[in-house]
Symmetry: C2
């Protein structure tokens, strides 16, 4: 009923310009990769035919739905917000819409949502992290649905992925904290079960402590859901331990912002009385007071490149590839040497 | 292929317990609304039959996709995060999955996304605000797709809606600012075009100023996209005006948090030198320093009740209804009388 056979397709443009559909697509999306003469030939055909790379036309051209699915652990807080927004903007430039679903940090729900998105006709999926059954990948492979993993990077993986090594990213920050002289370090970690990112970050802190000859006291590690209030509660608990921690390392910026707010409420000065660190460098990190020392993750770049990889796979231009992004420690004001 | 005819349906449970399917649903989702004897009868049938209110079983029972679509203006920042998360959790308890799409504050893209979600088989939609063509509603009506509007409330509307009156919500805060003695008031507003919420909040501030005999100076009103950095930039611009504002009212908490951070950077004390107010009462509001005086919006309740309304419409239990939620001014530390 919605079919409008007069709308020109990508194939029509390719035929008129005497080039492949991949070249047309490149002219529309990655002009810099195409020669000037090809570009002008293709753009002339685009104009003559009145081709618009919008949803309907492209779906008709490729028998695709031009819809991508993403499943993220949570929609609350801004942890995935910036990366997903960049992912969406990049997808839309390529003529794809994005549908996002959240599994509320419940691994078993992810499988259900994947099947739901595939049955709704998703052309490809963005998934967060690596903690899932191999059956899920087999399911996607049988149906020919490409997927890209983001937000983490496991050694030896083969699945298309754009991410960063959470362990290697947290390591230099933990080293920095210890090298400044901190010996009693509290940790507010995300729940590690089913969350490879949280687990890797926590392990990096433990590794670094052990490497520096410090004892890892399980009593000084609190696991909690990522949330400002939970960061506050965990911080208060840690500050009642004996000996009191002189530094509290948090699994992400949201927990750290909650810890900073609670410190102020308790009359504890940051960083004079206790240092607090984060992870992610979301926009909030530089706006809390004192500004947060944290690990910068290039969320926008991750979102953009995930879109590139996924669309290349869907449009048969790409093969499995693994992109590891660099992170860096951002020194702001919430970390200093301990009081002597 | 996936069909498993032995899975019991909601109807099976209703029949076994001798009640309506609506009653079974209530027993599963809103226990407090059901008598003890009905509850025990229904739960016995649930147990005997091995009924689980999950995706497959319910979809089979009702020939629905059990998928709801939501289109929100942005995924960045946490403006819609809490309400949408509550919406999703409530939907999932009722056996529905949620797909979220963002139109990046572009009204024309919303129409495209609505069509995409409907063609993907969405049983119903959550839409934000009232600024859209009547054609969109006609499109949904022709296809029999129920929709619920949230986050705003227009006088005289008839569409099913759970929201709050943005104008009436901002009004008492503006009155409060003026009654404290502020005469030079700067405003950092969201972009009002295509955003009825931003427009109503701005109008409330203007109304209140006019009602108190103050002149509204267009030069003291800056419209910008909701973003921490934009709040910072706009605040700096406002503080260069003559006369300098003694209070800056912001269209939401994200802009206000950006303004507070910039004030600190500029060595301007809040609220001693300038008062700053927000709107929304997202989690961030109480965690910035000084804690933000703002308007509390019951985001979680809005999300939950939107889920109730929408599922009732989909399952033919409800008729169009309009739920107006109350907001309240939350006095924290960022608002005080101006220096004399």
């Amino acid at each position: 009923m919605n079919r409008q056979p007069s709308i020109p397709t990508l194939e029509d443009v390719a035929q008129a310009a005497g080039v492949s559909t991949a070249t047309v697509s490149r002219c529309l999306n990655e002009k810099e990769k195409v020669s000037k003469s090809t570009l002008s030939k293709v753009m002339e055909a685009v104009e003559n035919l009145g081709y618009t790379p919008n949803f309907n036309a492209r779906a008709m051209a490729a028998r695709r739905s031009n819809t991508i699915g993403a499943i993220i652990p949570t929609m609350e807080n801004a942890i995935f917000a910036r990366g997903i927004q960049a992912f969406q903007v990049a997808l839309h430039e390529k003529g794809y819409n994005l549908l996002v679903s959240s599994n509320v940090y419940r691994p078993e729900l992810e499988t259900e949502l994947i099947k739901s998105l595939v049955s709704r006709g998703a052309d490809g999926l963005l998934l967060i992290g690596h903690s899932r059954d191999s059956e899920t990948y087999q399911y996607l492979e049988r149906r020919g649905i490409p997927s890209v993993l983001a937000w983490s990077m496991q050694p030896g993986q083969t699945h298309t992925c754009v991410g960063f090594d959470n362990r290697a990213s947290m390591h230099p920050l933990a080293d920095k904290v210890i090298e400044l002289g901190h010996r009693h370090i509290g940790v507010i970690s995300g729940i590690v079960e089913g969350n490879d990112r949280a687990q890797s970050r926590l392990e990096a802190i433990k590794d670094s402590m052990t490497a520096h000859g410090l004892t890892v006291d399980p009593d000084m590690i609190i696991q909690t859901f990522y949330d400002l209030d939970n960061g506050s509660i965990a911080f208060e608990q840690l500050m009642q331990k004996v000996p009191t921690p002189t530094a509290v390392m948090c699994g992400n910026d949201v927990l750290a912002a909650g810890a900073i707010a609670k410190a102020r409420e308790m009359g504890i000065k940051v960083p004079e009385d206790v240092s607090i660190t984060g992870f992610d460098d979301i926009e909030l990190a530089k706006h809390v007071y004192p500004a947060l020392t944290t690990v910068h993750v290039p969320h926008r770049e991750m979102g953009r490149r995930a879109a590139d990889l996924l669309v290349d796979l869907i449009e048969d231009r790409g093969s499995a590839s693994i992109i590891q992004l660099d992170t860096e420690v951002v020194m702001r004001d919430s970390l200093s040497p301990p009081k002597t």
